[in-house]
């Protein structure tokens, strides 16, 4: 990776072959960067100043030139590099324009300051990581007992369960409900057999036209679901008895009440 000079990512100055090759190397290596912030940090270092005092404007221009050059060379840049370019272009225009006293939100200086902070923080974390890895590490610089004693163990049973077990158990219970074979709760269902039984016994007393609702069993008239079930079963049973010639059915017009009476002549 070219680290040659301050204008390292500056393609405008690149005329001689060596410089051009360095540029191309940079482009090809973009994949080696951990995202635009990483690339920006490398560029910022080329300013060779304290990160807190870098010229963010210069940095933005450097980055934008880099993106422009990549475009000329028809190098496809990942989306986040382009998003960063758009953000930096916006920041650059804000930095160049006189501040708008009416504008809400952070000033261009705030934005630039935050970018400088982020670069410094990332740089500090890299340094911290390097310091960490340089410590005397177990298994590399320091070693544990190679032959730890086996310790005689007296037993105590401890029951173990993890969150996954717990959730699986609960999932099992819940899915059992979902997959229960489809079956009616018979409590609220009046069956056709029951209706036939009842209608056979009652129809003998129906010499006159008698409304269907009279034949409904007690306690089934009030509740909607029970009434519908009993009505349907009674009507179905009445069709069966009519087929057998035991009763007659009458309905004045569509949706008007249905009434029954015993067949007057024996079949």
């Amino acid at each position: 990776m070219p680290q040659s000079s301050a204008d390292m990512p500056d393609f405008d100055a690149a005329e001689d072959v060596a410089q051009r090759r360095a540029d191309e190397a940079l482009i090809v290596d973009v994949e080696g960067y951990e995202g635009p912030l990483d690339l920006l940090l490398t560029m910022a270092r080329s300013q060779k100043v304290d990160l807190m005092t870098i010229s963010v404007l210069e940095l933005a221009e450097q980055y934008l030139r880099f993106v422009e050059k990549a475009r000329k060379l028809r190098i496809e840049l990942a989306a986040d590099y382009l998003v960063m370019a758009a953000w930096l272009a916006f920041l650059k225009s804000r930095l160049l324009l006189p501040p708008d006293p009416e504008a809400d939100g952070p000033t261009a200086e705030d934005m630039a300051g935050h970018l400088a902070f982020q670069l410094e923080r990332l740089s500090a974390m890299r340094q911290a990581a390097a310091q960490l890895m340089a410590r005397d590490r177990l298994g590399i610089d320091r070693f544990a007992r190679g032959a730890p004693d086996t310790i005689a163990r007296s037993r105590r049973t401890e029951y173990k369960a993890g969150l996954i077990d717990l959730m699986r158990a609960y999932a099992r219970l819940k899915t059992r409900d979902e997959f229960r074979p489809y079956a009616f709760d018979r409590k609220d269902v009046f069956t056709m057999e029951q209706a036939l039984d009842r209608l056979r016994k009652m129809i003998g007393f129906a010499g006159e036209w008698t409304d269907l609702s009279v034949f409904l069993p007690q306690g089934w008239e009030a509740d909607g679901q029970r009434r519908r079930s009993a009505t349907a079963a009674t009507f179905a049973a009445s069709l069966e008895l009519a087929r057998q010639g035991r009763l007659e059915i009458r309905q004045g017009e569509s949706f008007s009440p249905i009434s029954y009476r015993q067949t007057t002549h024996e079949p």
Partner: protein
């Protein structure tokens, strides 16, 4: 033989033998010591000094086969015992009961039985209480004033939960593949007899799925 550097001091050599014996998984032979220590060392002398140093200590340098190793002093063998814990999986009944208590607490025994569809043995609840994962909560203000059960802080601790609200909801279980079912089609769902409130798991909405990328 000529050396660029003088050999380390005997003290330093003793430290070296000490570290090598300590870190080795098997007894170290005199040949190994010679091979590993810098030129010009006298491992035999360093080892003899080290053995004297550890004489009477809690660990001693012993000659085992043709090698040397640290060993616990025989009179301290009694310290090398540890009460161990044999882990055993919870029974299915226990884990299911625990799950129901965690998701529905405070919950009565009758309610647990309703959800599980089978009777809960006294032993199962006793076991969970003895493990200090479950305790009795307030009595329910309903006829018979039945006792309720709730999970303990020890439970939350063991399962790495901050509150029982952090338990993932059913939709999350499903997303995690723990529930590979689809809900029954609209309109086919059986009305859950009686207790509407036991559906509340659906509404507990822990913000972050435990199973997503961590």
């Amino acid at each position: 033989m000529s050396h660029d550097f003088p050999p380390p001091s005997l003290d330093q050599q003793e430290r070296m033998v000490e570290a090598i014996l300590f870190a080795s998984a098997v007894p170290v032979t005199m040949r190994d010591l010679t091979a590993r220590m810098p030129d010009g060392c006298d491992p035999a002398e360093a080892l003899a000094a080290l053995r004297r140093r550890y004489d009477g200590r809690g660990v001693t340098v012993e000659h085992l086969g043709d090698g040397y190793a640290f060993r616990t002093a025989p009179d301290l063998a009694f310290l090398m015992q540890e009460q161990t814990v044999e882990s055993r999986r919870l029974s299915r009944a226990a884990i299911e009961t625990l799950a129901i208590i965690a998701y529905h607490q405070p919950v009565t025994r009758a309610e647990i039985e309703e959800i599980r569809g089978v009777a809960v043995s006294r032993g199962t609840l006793d076991q969970l209480i003895e493990m200090e994962w479950v305790r009795m909560g307030r009595r329910r203000m309903s006829p018979g004033r039945p006792a309720t059960f709730v999970v303990t802080d020890g439970f939350l601790d063991h399962f790495g939960l901050e509150t029982s609200r952090d338990l993932p909801g059913l939709s999350e279980l499903r997303a995690a593949g723990l529930l590979d079912s689809r809900p029954p089609a609209e309109g086919l769902a059986m009305p859950l007899a009686g207790r509407g409130e036991d559906d509340d798991i659906e509404h507990v909405d822990p913000p972050e799925d435990l199973f997503k990328d961590t």
